[in-house]
């Protein structure tokens, strides 16, 4: 089979898999968050943590719960990382230094999973499992809860209540993430991903050298790394490592896992707002952005004009032979379109255009289809922006799903679209300004700037993937990227929940022929264009000096 046929087949297979689970999973998630019944295990948990599961929270209480929970998580994880030498199964590794521990703790709680460290040479099994893997579940569930709260803001009327954060969080973990993760961990193990607690193997290589090969509880972390759009690999090279991602089949499965919840949430959205067409419209906008980027990345990688790539047929540097260029481009596009940030190839080695597109994927604000929960709420916020701009053109003051977009609502949306570029551009500008921050760069000229831009795009959008080349384990990068992740994750959560609160208070406007239809192809187009224009206009100058200058060279 030719590479092209194999590549197209992979994409087709992926789309079929997603199409098959879209409805059942989406409907199931809608039921999870609308059901009034608690499972026995959940009830027990609520009693232990002393939460009243029947309490309906105001947006502010919901927000404080989410922020308080995340703050506690950061502190706890920070402590685990700093003190890991005191924990069992530490494999003899020391505690992390403060800046790195701060960076890693915020990174995992903010669902970013930027890793300034190499997992296999820094962390023991306990820190990986009790620290990182736990946060992989919790941070994903927190994002999911915020998205659900925003949906409730749209569907509830004349109320100041948005549901219960603790219930949403618990159900997200217990009823959605855990069962799927358990099932697919087994599938991954069957596919060849390792899962053990053995000490490192000593292997004598063909060249005669002795190499220490680390195993570990990989599959259990691998599955939630993808399912929760986290991306923090057990090993430094992430999904390029044969123990994390041994073959083309597991590769496809991993891509499926990182897309499955963000995509199916569009269905959940449609079901919960009682208009499935709205869900399809959001899905369509996500798909347009994902599809266009996939075409661009794949085309750029397959048709690299360089001498060597022409000779071998494609730009293969930094890509695993077992995944080929198509499998790598598909993974790269999906991992940056979701906020996953797992990688199976080195994005720095991509062509200027290919690298630029995966960077742009993140700069869009992680909405194609975005992270677990965050993709949906990002998309809804941008739909509101599109409605505000386009809605006036039908001769009515803007409204989305019957809720008016007035000055308060648009202020929150405006701050939302301001927060991420603020963290990204300021952080990157400082990094580009000083000699010692520039010393971390591997490339020079535009490639070097791409490394900086990529790092901050990844941090501020909670992606977590890296443009290999940047030595990020310095105090500046650890701190600045940590702050970027916090701003990118939590200011947006504050704004989204405030928006949900404002929307829930409103009396809905009935739909008439004069209402802007937000489920038609035209609006899908406007929605996608809005996403691209907002990001494009914000980042074009910076991109011109980085990936565009590389691509045109």
């Amino acid at each position: 089979m030719s590479a092209t046929a194999a590549g197209l087949l992979q994409i087709a297979l992926l789309l079929v898999l997603l199409a098959v689970v879209f409805k059942p999973l989406g409907d199931y998630m809608a039921r999870v968050f609308t059901s009034t019944r608690h499972l026995a295990a959940e009830r027990a948990f609520y009693r232990i943590v002393r939460v009243d599961p029947e309490a309906d929270q105001r947006w502010s209480t919901y927000l404080l719960s989410a922020l308080g929970f995340s703050a506690m998580s950061v502190l706890l994880l920070y402590a685990v990382l700093r003190l890991q030498d005191l924990l069992p199964l530490s494999l003899g590794f020391d505690g992390m230094p403060p800046a790195l521990a701060f960076n890693t703790a915020t990174s995992f709680v903010a669902n970013t999973n930027w890793q300034s460290y190499a997992g296999e040479s820094t962390l023991g099994y306990t820190a990986q499992m009790a620290g990182l893997t736990v946060q992989n579940f919790l941070s994903a569930a927190a994002g999911l809860a915020v998205a659900i709260a925003l949906i409730r803001g749209l569907t509830r009327h004349r109320t100041d209540r948005l549901g219960n954060f603790w219930v949403d969080l618990t159900r997200g973990v217990v009823r959605i993430l855990l069962p799927i993760a358990f099932l697919f961990a087994l599938v991954l193990v069957a596919g060849g991903v390792v899962q053990n607690f053995t000490a490192p193997y000593e292997v004598t290589t063909l060249g005669g050298a002795v190499q220490s090969v680390l195993g570990g509880p990989v599959a259990s972390q691998e599955v939630i790394k993808l399912l929760g759009t986290n991306g923090g690999g057990f090993f430094n090279v992430n999904s390029a490592h044969p123990f994390e991602n041994p073959n083309a089949l597991t590769n496809l499965l991993e891509i499926f896992l990182l897309l499955v919840i963000p995509v199916s949430l569009a269905r959940t959205y449609g079901v919960m707002v009682k208009d499935k067409r709205q869900g399809y419209a959001v899905l369509a906008a996500m798909a347009v952005l994902w599809g266009a980027a996939l075409v661009a990345v794949t085309a750029a990688e397959v048709n690299h004009p360089g001498t060597v790539p022409q000779a071998v047929g494609a730009a293969t540097e930094g890509k695993e032979v077992r995944f080929d260029v198509w499998g790598s481009a598909l993974f790269a596009n999906s991992t940056t379109g979701t906020s996953t940030g797992a990688v199976n190839s080195m994005h720095a080695s991509y062509t200027g255009a290919g690298g630029g597109v995966v960077m742009l994927n993140m700069m869009l604000g992680e909405v194609s289809p975005g992270g677990v929960g965050s993709g949906l709420y990002g998309m809804v916020v941008l739909a509101i922006l599109a409605v505000f701009l386009a809605g006036l053109m039908v001769g009515r003051t803007p409204e989305y799903l019957g809720k008016k977009i007035g000055r308060y609502e648009i202020s929150l949306v405006a701050l939302y679209i301001l927060a991420m570029p603020f963290a990204l551009l300021i952080g990157a500008a400082i990094a580009a300004s000083f000699d010692d921050t520039r010393a971390s760069l591997l490339g020079d000229g535009p490639q070097g700037l791409s490394e900086i831009l990529y790092a901050f795009a990844s941090g501020a959008n909670n992606n977590g993937s890296a443009f290999a080349g940047l030595t990020a384990n310095t105090d500046y990068y650890n701190t600045a990227l940590g702050l970027a992740m916090l701003i990118g994750r939590f200011t947006t959560i504050v704004l989204v929940l405030a928006l949900a609160g404002a929307l829930a208070r409103q009396q809905p406007t009935p739909v008439t022929a004069g209402t802007l239809p937000t489920h038609r192809p035209l609006f899908v187009g406007l929605h996608s264009v809005t996403v691209i224009i907002v990001a494009g206009l914000t980042f074009f100058p910076a991109l011109a000096l980085g990936p565009i200058a590389v691509a045109l060279a």
Binding site: A390, G395, R396, T397, G406, S411, L522, L537, T538, A542
Partner: protein
């Protein structure tokens, strides 16, 4: 509810009123408004428009830079940045100037006039400005009414042309719904006593002047929201430009401050920022041109959002009076005979209904109208509430009667006739169709008999059905409000094509209907003129009071229609929508413009260090300087080019939201992307001829 009184001024404007569209724009207004535009450069006034304020700061900044480090390029950029600011101010000044002309005419009516104040029955002459709330003044023929008030005594015809532009005098009388008079209008006949209802300086004309001049203009909710979005876009671009310098430094080509300011000004949404307030003022102005006075911009915006229109049947949907539309003879009677009798019976009947019978007889049966003098010895029987019929007794003993079925049948029986039962079916048929049956009978040669039935009906104004269809397409539901019984109401509702009707409506019912609609999240618009309409007018989101109405109604509504034409509600809705569409279209256009500007400026900025970026210079602009200058000049010129559109409003046609979005997104979105590529290229062709630039 309006109860029609004879002689009441009825403006029956053509239903095919001119569509919302062009207002006059004269290029000379640009020149005459220039001094105003320059005065608006005051930063304290500029700050109300955050986007243009940033441009002004940029212009000051580049001026300083141009002085310290003079070059052809820096002076050209500086000059065009100032021009950009002036153009923006010009847009607002032109819009305000148009209102000011109207204000001047109004002010002329506000001259100090002597007032004959009545204190304890004694008259004293004071100045109109000394009048206080509750003062009584006497006004006689030929005198100007000194202040707003209600007539408390007498009846007079008043010339209100100074306010309405309508030359026909109107009747004002104490009590009822026609008691309000406006200061500055002139009494033509008779004597009235007016109780002053407005404080000095707060009269209707004062408010009108303030509104049309834009002095009382406050930003509307949507305008504020849009301003917030524009401000945040400005901040984003500020961020993009400020952080570009470190990236540029990293890349090895630091940019001059002039270029960065130029880039910033080109990116921030100056087009819509410059035109936003002009669009708002022009929207109010378009209403004033149609003789509608909005008391707040908020109401104009709400008009665009209206979901439900409450329309009074009488005068809005139908002509003011019932008209004879058909003659239905009973068996054995020829139609012309019936027509002749009907005409005879109506000759003395001066009510509009009576006149319409004569007109029908003439038009349909060619019967010449006879004058009462042609029938010597005839005795005319007037309609009374007791007999409920009218008619004539001719000299030869021939008697004709027409009137309510029961009365006329009784009259026939009294004269020994035996009415055919078939007539009952005809009568019921007319009533079921929503009409009023009038039975015609005669007594000839001692024999009384029924001749037939006159069908009186409400006549729906032509073109109403089409307008309601359009409203429906726009998502607006029309509800007809009438005092008629449900059967009649239903028939007329079907005939007119309204969506719903409220029959036997009392003011409380109307109020309840408005509240019910609003509870469902809908916005309601209505017209009204009576004091008992006032609560409903206040409750409605858009309440248009008729100028002929009471001052209570005018106070309660948020708009006043000087023509007192209830049909205008539809136009008001269209103007509201047009205002919002214009805002949205120019915002979209403004943002879409940025793409071309990036393609012009970014390659120019980094031509030295990254020559490969010249591939982005798809317009093939001559030099880096000419490229940047061309973008700045285009950015300024597009403001002036769009002033007429901002003032006139974008073309509006009643379409569904989906169709409207498609059209506008194509014209202003796609157009906004394409136009600047062409425009910047054309400017560049000229600019590149300048020594030191090209």
């Amino acid at each position: 509810m309006t109860i029609l009184e004879p002689g009441r001024k009825q403006t029956v404007t053509s239903v095919q009123a001119p569509r919302v569209g062009a207002g006059l724009f004269d290029a000379r207004q640009l020149v005459s408004s220039l001094p105003d535009a320059l005065r608006k450069l005051d930063p304290r006034r500029m700050i109300t428009s955050p986007v243009m304020f940033v441009v002004e700061i940029g212009a000051v900044f580049t001026t300083v830079l141009a002085i310290t480090d003079s070059s052809t390029f820096s002076w050209w950029i500086t000059a065009w940045l100032w021009i950009t600011v002036v153009f923006a101010n010009l847009a607002e000044a032109v819009a305000e100037g148009r209102g000011r002309a109207q204000a001047a005419t109004l002010r002329a009516t506000k001259q100090e006039t002597p007032a004959r104040r009545l204190t304890d029955g004694l008259e004293e002459v004071v100045s109109s400005s000394d009048l206080r709330l509750g003062d009584l003044v006497v006004v006689e023929a030929g005198e100007v009414i000194p202040g707003d008030g209600d007539v408390v005594e007498g009846v007079a015809s008043v010339d209100e042309s100074a306010i309405t532009g309508e030359s026909a005098p109107v009747i004002r009388e104490s009590g009822g719904d026609r008691s309000a008079v406006t200061g500055g209008t002139k009494v033509l006949s008779d004597r009235i006593v007016v109780k002053i209802t407005a404080r000095p300086g707060e009269s209707f004309v004062d408010r009108m002047i303030a509104m049309v001049e834009g002095a009382a203009r406050q930003k509307t909710p949507n305008e504020i929201a849009l301003n917030i979005l524009l401000a945040s876009l400005t901040i984003i671009f500020l961020l993009a430009v400020v952080t570009l310098q470190p990236f540029a430094g990293y890349s090895g080509q630091l940019q001059s401050m002039i270029v960065l300011v130029a880039l910033l000004v080109c990116l921030i949404p100056t087009t819509i920022g410059a035109l936003l307030s002009a669009i708002g003022i022009a929207g109010m102005d378009r209403l004033v041109q149609r003789n509608v006075l909005a008391m707040s911009g908020r109401a104009v915006e709400a008009a665009g959002d209206v979901n439900v229109l409450l329309l009074d049947k009488t005068g809005t949907i139908t002509f003011g009076n019932r008209q004879a539309v058909e003659l239905l003879p009973v068996a054995g009677v020829e139609e012309p005979a019936l027509a002749d009798a009907a005409q005879l019976a109506s000759l003395a009947d001066q009510t509009p209904e009576g006149r319409s019978v004569v007109v029908l007889a003439k038009q349909r049966y060619g019967l010449r109208e006879r004058h009462t003098g042609e029938l010597p010895g005839a005795t005319f029987v007037e309609f009374t509430a007791q007999t409920r019929m009218s008619g004539v007794d001719l000299a030869d003993g021939h008697q004709v009667r027409k009137g309510a079925a029961g009365s006329v049948l009784g009259w026939v029986r009294d004269h020994g006739g035996r009415p055919d039962i078939a007539v009952d079916d005809v009568v019921d048929g007319v009533a079921a169709a929503g009409g009023t049956p009038l039975v015609v009978a005669e007594l000839r040669d001692g024999e009384a008999r029924i001749l037939g039935v006159i069908h009186l009906a409400d006549v729906v104004k032509s073109g109403m059905r089409e307008r309601f269809d359009e409203l429906r397409a726009m998502g607006i539901r029309t509800v007809m409000v009438t005092g008629d019984n449900p059967v009649t109401a239903k028939a007329i509702a079907e005939q007119a094509g309204v969506d719903d009707f409220l029959a036997e409506a009392k003011p409380e019912d109307k109020m309840a209907l408005i509240k019910r609609e609003q509870a469902g999240g809908r916005l309601v618009a209505m017209t009204g003129d009576g004091t008992n309409d006032a609560p409903a007018l206040a409750q409605a989101d858009v309440g248009v009071a008729m100028n002929t109405g009471t001052s209570a109604a005018k106070e309660a509504g948020n708009m006043v229609d000087l023509d007192s034409d209830p049909t205008k509600l539809i136009e008001i809705v269209e103007i509201g929508k047009q205002l919002l569409i214009t805002r949205g279209a120019l915002t979209t256009f403004s943002i879409a413009n940025d793409i071309a500007k990036y393609f012009a400026i970014i390659p120019a900025m980094f031509a030295v260090v990254y020559p490969q970026l010249d591939a982005l210079n798809i317009m093939r602009l001559a030099t880096p300087q000419s490229a940047i200058l061309s973008a700045v000049i285009f950015n300024a010129l597009i403001i002036v080019a769009l002033i007429p559109l901002a003032l006139r409003g974008v073309r509006y046609r009643p379409l569904s939201a989906a169709a409207m979005l498609q059209r506008n997104a194509l014209v202003y979105g796609l157009g906004g992307i394409v136009v600047p590529f062409i425009g910047i290229k054309l400017v560049d062709l000229l600019v590149s001829a300048i020594p030191g630039i090209g």
